[in-house]
Amino acid sequence: MAETNVIVLDLWASSYGMRVKIALAEKGISYECRQEDFEAKSSLLLEMNPVHKMIPVLIHNGKPICESLNIVQYIDEAWNHKPSLLPYDPYKRSQARFWGDYIDKNVYNAVKRVWTGKGEEQEECKKQFIECWKILEDELGDKPYFGGEEFGYVDVALVPFTSWFYTVETNGKLSIEEECPKIVDWVKRCMLKESVAKSLPHPRQIYAFALQYKQRHGLE
């Protein structure tokens, strides 16, 4: 479905930006993606997200929607043809939102603390990282996706962070496959979907980004 007025303000390495791109791709919505520079935010970004001044921002017919999971819900409602990202049942919807919220509160920090950490502090961060993903693995269980048979909201919320797995494993010297094999299987399953494959950067690109970031911030 061609949409003439859908713009995404993005940063290619941002897991939050990837969520929005996956959701749009799932719905078959074409959009213009504009890359932001964190050191020099565009006047459009500052105008469209004056409160947080952060990407991603979805601009639909000139009107901004901010906060990635809020954007994903908006996409699901504004283009309400299949596939649906959130379940129909109110209880299942609340569960999906709960896990989206859990991911928001825990995963980014768990990931970042491992690849920016050093020594004993990093060991502690590795434990927290594994604990966080084991909780998610428990929730996934034997289902193909977090939502059940179909790829959905929680999968969209989580899968972008997996592009950081190579960085975490290399920096942290750990094997996610050994610790959370079901999660790794789920990642492979998700990567077979075109919406995911074309929205996630290559893990080596993320690794190069992480190295540059550490250099710039004196974290080597």
Binding site: V51, I65, Y74, N80, P90, S94, F98, Y102
Partner: protein, 249 residues
């Protein structure tokens, strides 16, 4: 078919209609058992209770008497991930995270909707609920859990947050417009803590955010809000007690 969305004649406006009302895929609640695992001073618990009151849903509130040392088995079983109140138990099925619970209440009991019908307006409502969630309680805590210069900085930061909310409210009666709704429910419980912040931070909300101040008075006239919110003086005493126990005084 559940999804009965249609494009209005106004370009770009999408209405959600009868999203959850008519379906055999899930049962519409009747004769429900509704319980709230609760704590009297918690603004997050208050959100849930106000939403239930607004919907006219009978509920039993189970007070957690010792959140800091002896959480109940029911709480730990119902919310193993966060081990926090509020928890809504709807026919024994647990739901956690207050803003998510309020959304659920709106969807499970669809009459008198709390969220707007227009999709874009719903996104705006969720955005402000998220902002309030991320900022208000923490900014307030930074005031009462600190002393000296740290507290001065915290007070300034809190006032910044108030100003954002003042701008979001604008000249409307409520955050959603003419009717009391989702964002109001998410925000109003925090007002019970404002006296504590004002006394400790030596400022008045009215001086920095007069529209918010007026909105609080308007909301307190609603039965659901007046019934649920604790006395701000009691909250202030609770904060002072907590400060003493934490060695801050």
């Amino acid at each position: 078919m559940l999804t009965e969305c249609f494009l209005s004649p106004i370009k770009g406006t999408v209405f959600l209609q009868n999203w959850f009302c008519f379906s055999s895929e899930f049962s519409i609640p009747s004769g429900d058992k509704v319980e709230v695992l609760d704590f009297w001073a918690s603004p997050f618990c208050a959100r849930v209770k106000i939403a239930l009151e607004e919907k006219g849903v009978k509920h039993v509130d189970r007070e957690e008497h010792d959140l800091f040392g002896g959480k109940s088995e029911l709480l730990l079983k119902s919310n193993p991930i966060h081990q926090k109140v509020p928890v809504l138990l709807h026919n024994d099925r647990p739901l956690a995270e207050s803003a998510i619970i309020v959304s659920y209440i709106d969807e499970a009991w669809p009459s008198n909707p709390l969220l707007p019908a227009i999709v874009y307006d719903r996104a705006q409502a969720r955005f402000w609920a998220d902002y309030i969630d991320k900022k208000v309680f923490e900014a307030g805590r930074n005031i009462w859990a600190s002393n000296g210069e740290e507290r001065e900085v915290a007070t300034r930061d809190f006032i910044e947050v108030l100003k954002h909310l003042e701008e979001a409210l604008g000249d409307k009666d409520y955050f959603g417009g003419d009717a009391f709704g989702y964002v109001d429910i998410i925000a109003i419980p925090h007002s019970a803590w404002f006296l504590a912040y004002e006394k400790l931070g030596a400022f008045k909300v009215e001086d920095h955010a007069p529209k918010i101040s007026a909105w609080i008075k308007k909301c307190l006239q609603r039965e659901s809000v007046a019934k649920v919110l604790p006395d701000p003086e009691k909250v202030y005493q609770f904060v002072l007690y907590f400060r003493k126990m934490s060695g801050l005084d």
